[in-house]
């Protein structure tokens, strides 16, 4: 059965290689449309087969009741702890694998339409394939180093995809930022892997989890791992790359911010959960970070004007909710919310893509009244927002309830703080969902929308069919997936959170109703600007990290020239100067030479007489 996992990983990888190298062969005589068609096949077909393989794998595990499939290709001797190149698919991995492949398939199909005027479509779709492959490697990996390989390749793909429209400097900067911020976390992640691997004597995840490690080691290792998790899953304090990553094409936002990269952090914690459970201090730290992150990001989402940035901040907030569930000791609730969030957030982003495609702008102040021209998108996005706000019967209602109930039942030192933040966040989430929904689809069409802004929309009225199908397809799980957890529903806490969410939405509705032309975000009053700027964290990092490093770099270059190389050049000059002194004696004057000779003889004679 492990062959299926291998197949699921290798097919998108082969698709990526084929798309990059094979789309334009022969180089000069392939018209752009042929290259695009070929690339589309290379993109969609492998990931479709991967999705079938992943579903098959998950179904086989569910039906046969086997606990997992595993296989090792080889052990690589390093001179110390060996690396075992192998895969291991448990229940968690199988489920996440399905989520990843299904969303990736939807994104690939959607991109065929969304990017139909894009000359660089082959490289774009190939990078998505590579991304999918890397994520599946993370999900199915049986060894921490193998997992890390996939983990980092995802970082590269996100860099390449966010910077897809590299003509614009802002996109390029956003791509670099995404890579560097996550890489900073990944250094900690790698050290965490070292700690676990060396203490357990193996990098195999099973061995690490089975090993009886001292608590201090576990706390240190999991805290280090947490750095990488915070980077990838955009948690405080390494979340700042995610809103900027909206510079990428919208389908990429769906892929990165729904199914894959941001999910990886939560997934890894769940995968190594026994290690985290044995390290309570780490879970407490995670809980505090999650509490701060969920509320801060939700408030930031409430003040944004860019539709995609609203969704980006909501992603940070929702991921923090999952992290909170992990901190509260319920990996089950976290993964449940991860899966439903993957579905409804992908749906929201793909719908946002349609809206932006139609409106020609990312800004909600340029939208409004889109309910009539985009009926399918309207209904799909309504489902998505309902799920985001946690309203029944959408999937988010069930999973968010599971999270809230888990937090309520937990007993950490930060439990009360976490629970309070979670409830407030539920209310704010209801508010910003309602705000985005109302401002996009209701009211009158606002004027002044530029024909081409920010994203790559072209203001075309017709929405390609390949864009609508994935939207419809994703709307089904976004609506129904929650019923998988209907039996575990805690009605009491569910009722509380629905009331709070409706309260938040109601306030926004009342404000909007009083004057539909004005932004309901005005209710934030003086806090609106700090919220919109995400509490100035970017500026702080710029001041505290980026600029000092650049100053230091310039200082190093100066010092290298003046001090280090200056010493080298100085020694050269000194040698020349010394030889200049010696040359004074070699001036060709025979009289001087004879005088010198005589003086020498005299000195020697005196020396012999005196000392002898």
């Amino acid at each position: 059965m492990i062959v299926l996992a291998v197949l699921a990983i290798l097919l998108p990888f082969a698709g990526a290689a084929a798309g990059l190298l094979g789309s334009r062969i022969p180089r000069r005589r392939t018209p752009v449309c042929t290259a695009r068609r070929r690339a589309a096949w290379f993109a969609v077909l492998p990931v479709a087969i991967s999705a079938v393989a992943a579903v098959w794998l998950a179904a086989w595990q569910a039906i046969s009741g086997e606990t997992g499939a595993a296989g090792t290709l080889a052990d690589i001797e390093t001179g110390s702890v060996p690396i075992s190149v192998g895969l291991q698919v448990g229940e968690l991995s199988a489920l996440t694998g399905v989520l990843v492949t299904v969303v990736a398939l939807a994104v690939q199909v959607y991109s065929v339409g969304y990017m139909r005027d894009e000359p660089r479509y082959p490289s774009y779709s190939s990078f998505i394939s590579l991304f999918t492959s890397a994520m599946l490697l993370v999900v199915y990996a049986g060894d921490l180093i193998v997992l890390y390989v996939g983990w980092e390749i995802m970082g590269l793909c996100s860099y390449l995809l966010i910077g897809h429209w590299w003509e614009d400097r802002a996109n390029s900067r956003a791509a670099v930022k995404a890579f560097l911020v996550t890489r900073l976390g990944d250094v900690g992640f790698l050290f965490g892997i070292f700690t676990l691997g060396l203490s357990a004597g193996s990098f195999r995840i099973d061995d690490v989890l089975a090993a009886d490690l001292p608590k201090g080691t576990l706390v240190a290792a999991t805290l280090l791992l947490l750095a990488g998790v915070a980077g990838k899953s955009a948690q405080v304090p390494l979340h700042t790359w995610l809103p900027d990553a909206m510079a990428g094409p919208t389908p990429i936002s769906a892929l990165i911010h729904a199914a894959t990269m941001v999910a990886a952090g939560i997934f890894v914690v769940a995968r190594l959960y026994p290690a985290f459970l044995a390290a309570q201090p780490t879970l407490d730290v995670l809980g505090v970070l999650a509490a701060v992150g969920m509320l801060g990001a939700a408030l930031a989402a409430l003040a944004q004007d860019d539709l995609k940035r609203v969704l980006a901040y909501s992603t940070i907030s929702q991921l923090a909710l999952m992290a909170a569930a992990l901190a509260a000791g319920s990996e089950h609730a976290a993964i449940f919310h991860l899966v439903t969030h993957g579905a409804f957030k992908a749906l929201l982003f793909l719908c946002a893509g349609v809206v932006i495609h139609h409106a020609g702008s990312n800004l909600m102040s340029h939208m409004g009244g889109l309910r009539t021209p985009l009926p399918v998108t309207f209904w799909a996005m309504t489902i998505g927002f309902a799920a985001l706000a946690g309203l029944p019967p959408a999937s988010g209602f069930f999973s968010k309830d599971a999270v809230i109930a888990a937090i309520e039942r937990s007993h950490g030192p930060a439990q009360l703080f976490l629970y309070g933040c979670a409830l407030v966040t539920v209310g704010v989430t209801g508010a910003y969902s309602a705000r985005a929904w109302l401002r996009t689809f209701f009211g009158s069409r606002r004027v002044g929308a530029p024909s081409h802004a920010g994203d790559h929309g072209h203001g075309r009225p017709a929405v390609p069919r390949s864009m609508l199908w994935p939207v419809v397809l994703l709307a089904v799980p976004a609506l129904l997936l929650g019923f998988a957890g209907v039996r575990e529903l805690d009605w009491e806490s569910a009722a509380i959170s629905v009331v709070i969410a409706l309260l938040g939405a109601g306030v926004v509705y009342a404000l909007w109703r009083s004057s539909p032309e004005q932004d309901p975000a005005r209710m934030l009053g003086p806090f609106r600007v700090p919220c919109e700027r995400a509490f100035y964290l970017d500026a702080v990092y710029d001041r505290l990290v980026v600029r000092p490093v650049l100053r230091l770099a310039r200082g190093v270059v100066r010092a290298d020239d003046r001090v280090v190389d200056g010493a080298v050049r100085g020694s050269g000059r000194a040698a020349v100067g010394l030889s200049g002194l010696l040359r004074l004696a070699q001036n060709g004057n025979a009289q001087l030479y004879v005088t010198g000779l005589l003086a020498g003889v005299l000195l020697i004679a005196v020396g012999v007489v005196v000392l002898g």
Binding site: G79, S80, E152, L156, L180, L190, T195, V549
Partner: protein, 498 residues
């Protein structure tokens, strides 16, 4: 099969000597260098195929004949798991340099082919020699042709750079020779295999010898703060010079640590390893910061070598099998990746007429999509992305520092590990910044198509693709290299367990 190593030295040397014949005066056949270096490469491949991988720790294809009996000098050659990858790397890179030259005939071709073939003899000889003085001879043979490559075919500031290069490295070699003499006077033999089995040198003498030999090798590596010859040499050297300088010459310094300094002088190594590690991590951070503020593309790549060699030296400094493995892996990976980087940077310089980033402007991916993509690939490989060759050397070096050899201070090396880890972030920062400045953005409209030259040529592709393929291969399957080096390294550090 012991003839094969002698043949690997003889073929390029005789090839160079044949060029002195009067019939080649003024005109040298275009494929001459290609044929000779191709024959050498074929021999290297045959040696790699015939190598007994079951006994990678043992010297193979040995030749051991008396050379200067009065000095007890022997002509002793051989390869094991440590030197074989470097020998093949040298043959590959030299051959690819000739492929590059075939597409872009240089001025004074006969002299350049002659010089490069002599250079190849010296480089391969350094990796094959098993007698300390023979090693030193080959080590020195390399300097002279490289001096001429820089001084004749280099850029505008070539004379000063060449003089700095040769004086600096000769000074290093003089110190190295002193160290070799200390070893000789104490142990009474110069045979590396015998010395590695146990030299019986007193600890104090070992420390002195390690200091001298280490300093000599550190100049070549180069280790901070002995690196300042490198940026000038790289900036001025022609493309083939840069490729061989970064790809092979720097490796001769680090190879010396694996072959001479650590196995022959273990106690000296243990005493001085903390210093080596400290200089190595300073080099990592310092090199990365210097890159971050660099304006010239080739100069930036040169400084990046200081950082990457820092990881290699850190690997050695841990004195663990995993660290030395990392260093050897990092050596090969750096040779492949930085070779590719210099090839691409050279191509950029040919087309734009400058390597100054401000004058290159942006939008290279739009103007020269293939070259821009290959530059991106090379940078990504160089910043140590897993799945490409650069990663394993860095990762294993940090892992080695996580638990260094028992006689070294663990907190100190943990600090080194953390600093090195931050260095990887800085490395990513300067490469991505450079890519962002050069390949992204819109090309300045006024400039038009650069230099009237098109995108990548067939010769360039032929020279670059093997490097790309090997980078991906070793990245995806590090076992290909680790399986060769691990037994040799474990034999070298017998006292250290896993």
């Amino acid at each position: 099969m012991s003839w094969i190593l002698i043949a690997m030295l003889a073929v390029p040397l005789l090839g160079a000597a044949a060029l002195l014949l009067p019939r080649f005066a003024g005109r040298v056949p275009r494929g001459y260098g290609l044929a000779v270096s191709g024959a050498t490469l074929a021999l290297a491949v045959v040696a790699a195929v015939g190598f007994d991988y079951g006994h990678a720790a043992r010297m193979q294809f040995e030749t051991d004949v008396s050379w200067i009996p009065g000095l007890a000098l022997r002509f002793h050659l051989g390869v094991d798991g440590i030197s074989l990858p470097l020998v093949v790397l040298t043959a590959v890179l030299t051959f690819l340099c000739f492929v590059h030259l075939a597409g872009r005939p240089p001025s004074r071709p006969r002299a350049l082919v002659f010089t490069l073939l002599v250079l190849e003899t010296g480089m391969i000889g350094t990796f094959l020699a098993l007698d300390l003085l023979l090693f030193f001879v080959f080590f020195e043979v390399v300097l002279v042709p490289m001096y001429f490559v820089i001084a004749i075919w280099g850029g505008p500031g070539r004379r000063a750079a060449a003089v700095k290069f040769i004086l600096y490295t000769l000074l290093g070699s003089a110190v190295l020779l002193l160290g070799v003499l200390v070893v000789w006077s104490q142990a009474g033999t110069l045979d590396m295999v015998a010395l590695a089995r146990g030299s019986g040198i007193a600890r104090s003498a070992q420390i002195v010898a390690f200091l001298a030999i280490g300093a000599g090798l550190a100049v070549k590596a180069p280790m901070w703060p002995l690196h300042t010859w490198l940026p000038d040499a790289h900036t001025e050297a022609p493309t083939v010079g840069s490729v061989l300088l970064a790809g092979v010459l720097l490796k001769m310094g680090t190879y010396g640590f694996a072959r001479i300094a650590i196995p022959i002088l273990p106690e000296g190594a243990a005493a001085l390893a903390p210093w080596l590690g400290a200089f190595a991590v300073i080099g990592i951070i310092y090199g990365s910061l210097a890159c971050l503020a660099q304006r010239d593309l080739k100069r930036m790549i040169a400084y990046s070598s200081v950082g990457h060699m820092g990881f290699v030296l850190l690997g050695f400094a841990t004195l663990t099998p995993v660290g030395v493995n990392a260093a050897l892996f990092g050596n090969v990976a750096h040779g492949l990746i930085t070779g590719l980087l210099f090839f691409v940077a050279g191509a950029v310089k040919d087309r734009y007429g400058t390597a100054d980033m401000a004058r290159l402007g942006g939008g290279m991916l739009g103007r020269l999509p293939y070259i821009g993509s290959l530059l991106t690939f090379a940078c990504v490989a160089s910043l140590g992305l897993p799945g490409l060759a650069g990663f394993w050397g860095e990762m294993l070096a940090l892992f080695g520092a996580f638990r260094p050899a028992a006689e070294l201070s663990r907190p100190l090396f943990l600090t080194f590990m953390v600093v090195g880890g931050l260095g990887t972030v800085l490395t990513a920062a300067y490469f991505l910044r450079m890519l962002s400045r050069v390949t992204h953005g819109r090309p300045a409209a006024s400039e038009g198509p650069p230099g009237g030259l098109g995108d990548v040529t067939a010769y360039e592709l032929a020279a670059w693709v093997p490097l790309v393929v090997l980078t991906v291969l070793f990245g995806l399957w590090p076992k290909a290299l680790l399986a060769i080096t691990t037994p040799a390294v474990q034999a070298m550090l017998p006292g250290v367990g896993t």
